[in-house]
Symmetry: C2
Subunit: 220 residues, 2 copies
C-alpha cells in the first residue's frame, strides 16, 4: 500500500465537503476565509482554493468580493438533479451490464449487506451515503466510461446532501433497502431492461420522497 500525499488544499476540500454534506455548515451561511483558515490552522490560500473546488462541485457559491456560502437546498434543484441522475445512471448501467464481471456483482452484494446493517447504527447518514455511492459505482464498473462515471459522482455529491438530510430528519429512505436488492437481482440476471427501469424508479422514488419532505419543511 502506497501512502498517498495530500496537499493542504485537498485536505481542506475533504473537511469542508464533509461539513457541508453532514449539515454542520448550514446552507446560505457565509464561509469566511479567515475564520476557516484559523480553525483549520492553515493560511487562507488553501482555503480559497478548496472553496473554488467545492464551487465546481456545486456545493458552494462564490460571489466576487462578497465571499462564499454553502448553496441553498430547494425543491426545484432536487427535481433537476435527480432527473439528471436517473437518465445518466440508467444509461450508464445499461452500458455496464453488457460487460460487468461476476466479481463486481459479488462485491456489490457485500456492500449491500453492510448497507443494511449501517442503517440502524449511530452515524447512519454519513456511512450510509458512502456505502450507497460504492454500491452504485460497483454496478457501473463494467461501463468503462470514466468521464461519465466522474460526472455521476459529482451529481451524487450534490444529491448526497438531500439524501442525508432526509435520512436524518425523516428516519430513512424507507424503500431503499428492498429496491437495492431487487436492482441487484436484475443485474445478476443480466436483465438490462428491468435493471435500468428499477434503477430509474429507485432514483425517482427518492426524488419524490425528498421533494415531499422539503416542501413540507418549506411550508413550516
Amino acid at each position: 500500500m502506497t501512502i498517498e500525499y495530500k496537499t493542504r488544499t485537498q485536505l481542506v476540500v475533504e473537511i469542508l465537503r464533509e461539513k457541508i454534506l453532514s449539515g454542520e455548515i448550514v446552507a446560505g451561511q457565509p464561509l469566511r476565509q479567515a475564520a476557516l483558515a484559523k480553525e483549520l490552522n492553515v493560511s487562507r490560500i488553501p482555503v480559497r482554493e478548496a472553496l473554488l473546488q467545492l464551487e465546481a462541485e456545486g456545493l458552494v457559491a462564490f460571489e466576487p468580493h462578497k465571499g462564499a456560502s454553502a448553496t441553498e437546498l430547494c425543491a426545484a434543484q432536487v427535481d433537476e438533479l435527480f432527473d439528471l441522475r436517473a437518465m445518466i445512471e440508467g444509461d450508464l448501467l445499461a452500458a455496464s451490464l453488457i460487460h460487468i464481471t461476476d466479481d463486481a456483482l459479488e462485491q456489490a452484494a457485500n456492500i449491500l449487506l453492510n448497507l443494511d446493517s449501517a442503517l440502524g447504527k449511530e452515524n447512519a447518514a454519513n456511512t450510509w451515503s458512502e456505502l450507497n455511492s460504492d454500491f452504485h459505482n460497483c454496478l457501473y464498473s463494467g461501463a468503462n466510461r470514466p468521464q461519465t462515471a466522474s460526472l455521476v459522482n459529482v451529481l451524487n455529491k450534490n444529491a448526497d446532501r438531500y439524501i442525508r438530510m432526509h435520512l436524518l430528519w425523516a428516519g430513512g429512505i424507507s424503500k431503499a433497502g428492498p429496491e437495492h436488492a431487487e436492482l441487484l437481482a436484475f443485474c445478476q440476471a443480466r436483465d438490462i431492461e428491468n435493471a435500468v427501469a428499477k434503477l430509474k424508479q429507485h432514483i425517482l422514488n427518492s426524488r419524490d420522497e425528498i421533494k415531499a419532505f422539503l416542501s413540507q419543511r418549506e411550508a413550516s
Copy 2:
C-alpha cells in the same frame, strides 16, 4: 447595460480557456505557473486559481507538485462526451419545447443566419463555436432548468475543442448547416419528437465525423 466587474482570476480563466480551445496551447504541454503569470502580467495566485477552475471544466489536468497541462484529445473521450450531450440535450430540448416562446425561436433563427455567414470568414472556428453555443442555448431556453443548462455548457466547452479542431483541419462540419435549419423548423412546429431525434442525430453525426478524423490523425 451594466459593465460587469471581473477579477483577474476570471480574466485569466477566459484567456487560458480561449488558448486551449483555439489550440494555441497544445494538449499535454505543461503549463508553468510562473511563465503564465509573467506573460499575463499577474502574480501566480490568479493563475493557479484559473488553472483549478479549468481543471473543473475538464480542460486541464492537475498533478500535485508536478503542475498542470491541457488535457489530451482522444477518440475515446469523444464517444463519451458526445453521447452524454446527445442524451442530456435531447431531454433538455424536449422539456424546453413545451414552453418555448416565439421570441426565443426568432432569436435562434437570427443566430442561424450569422452562423452561416461566419463559416466562410477569417476567424471561422472561434466565432462559429460561440454562435453555435448561443443557438443551442436559445432552443433550450424554455426548459427552465438552470442546473442542467450549466452542465450542458460545461460539456460543450469540452466538445468545442474537438469541433474547432475539426473545423480548422478538415474544413468544416459539413452537415451542420442544413441540420440546424431542419432542427429549427421542427422546433417552430413544436414537433417535439422529430426535433429531439434531429438534435440527437446532429450531435451524433458530428461525433462520428470527429472520431473518424481523430483516428485518421492518430494513425499518422
